[in-house]
Amino acid sequence: MRHLRGLCLGLAAATFGASAVAEETTLRLTIKDHHFNPVEIHAPANSPITLVVKNLDATPEEFESKPLRVEKVVAANAEITLRLRPLPPGSYPFFGEFHEDTAKGRLVVE
């Protein structure tokens, strides 16, 4: 029982402990006429990324990306901020779930 407490504390620390602070990158993306602009955005590898998505349309969109593990609604004429963990090099596609055929883009990490 004594060890259970230590185990729980250890797990809590592992889950909620702050990650080491590396230089952060901020990227901006807009949605207009159900298209992302720019379609391709770039970020350096292993650096935490802040992605600001601004919706210039009068209707909402849902920003979604499985590799980035993000699913978030952007209201009309509003913007959302996404905080992405540091990523290894690669191409991470994202899309707008409400307009999947036109709202497509990718984040290229190199």
Partner: protein, 275 residues
């Protein structure tokens, strides 16, 4: 039109499967329908409110409002499901008698229906908010609204039909297995919701540890495919779970199972002192 159908179908399925399970698990229990309908209506109302305030919600809590709301609603559903299972472990025998039409009818107030109503309401709120926002987008854009709306209604109908398959499957289970099957399903459901909750906490960067992806089975069964989505809701399947999600999933399973076992009344004592 097909696009609208698919989008609405996806969201409706996630709430519909939960409603189907809850309705199936409370079949024949007096007064259960009222609570489920009430929960669903409350959830719809809440969905409308959340959709209306989507912008403010997203900006809240330093930009993590949406993830936090999702996590909180999911956590509430998990707690309610756990409570229901524990309650059932304690009172299942009496309810089985009521179902079989013999002997003791459990008084309505004693039942766990309010907890299940909250589970239903939580599911409808989460998925309903997205549907409301999507439909609002269709109506506001004015672009061939009629065909898109038809697609949306088609998605709703299809989602309801698929969910009712779950319901009919459950009510066809013979009584002697009924409680063990439904409590197993509800436990898996709760564990899946708990893992989703953990996912949102990680998305909000509140939980930053244990984020390694444990495996990738998207080639075998992607959780964005139709079957994958259904399994995701029913048993919490994801094709790329993080360590935290796995931990929370297993932890929830163990906790609910153990708590229900502890709550179950002991075997009826021997009538005569044992030799």
């Amino acid at each position: 039109m097909l696009g609208a159908l698919v989008i609405v179908f996806r969201e409706v399925i996630e709430a519909g499967l939960i409603i189907g399970i809850v309705l199936g698990a409370t079949r024949g229990m007096h007064g259960s329908r009222r609570f489920v309908i009430g929960g669903a209506l409350a959830g719809l109302l809440g969905a409308g409110v959340v959709a209306a305030f989507a912008g403010a919600v997203a900006e809240a809590a330093g930009g993590t409002g949406q993830e936090l709301l999702n996590a909180a609603v999911l956590a509430l559903a998990v707690v309610m499901l756990a409570w229901h299972n524990i309650w059932m472990a304690r009172h299942g025998r009496e309810l089985a008698q009521e179902l079989a039409g013999i002997g003791r009818a459990v008084a309505e107030g004693e039942k766990s229906f309010p907890a299940l109503a909250i589970v239903v309401g939580a599911a409808v709120l989460r998925e309903g908010a997205e549907v409301v926002l999507f439909l609002y987008g269709i109506l506001a854009s004015g672009e061939s609204g009629a065909s898109l709306l038809a697609g949306a209604l088609g998605g709703l109908a299809l989602g309801a039909a698929t969910s009712s398959l779950v319901y009919f499957g459950l009510v066809s289970i013979p009584l002697r297995h009924f409680f063990s099957v439904t409590s197993a399903l509800l436990t898996l459901l709760a564990a899946g919701l708990a893992a989703q909750c953990a996912g949102f906490l990680q998305e909000a960067r509140i939980a930053t540890g244990l984020s390694q992806v444990m495996w990738d089975t998207s080639a075998i069964l992607s959780d964005t495919s139709a079957l994958g989505r259904i399994l995701r809701t029913l048993i919490g399947y994801t094709d790329q779970p993080t360590a935290l999600q796995l931990l929370v999933y297993v932890g929830a399973l163990i906790f609910i199972w153990a708590a229900a076992k502890a709550a179950a009344p002991g075997r009826v004592e021997a009538r005569a002192p044992a030799e």
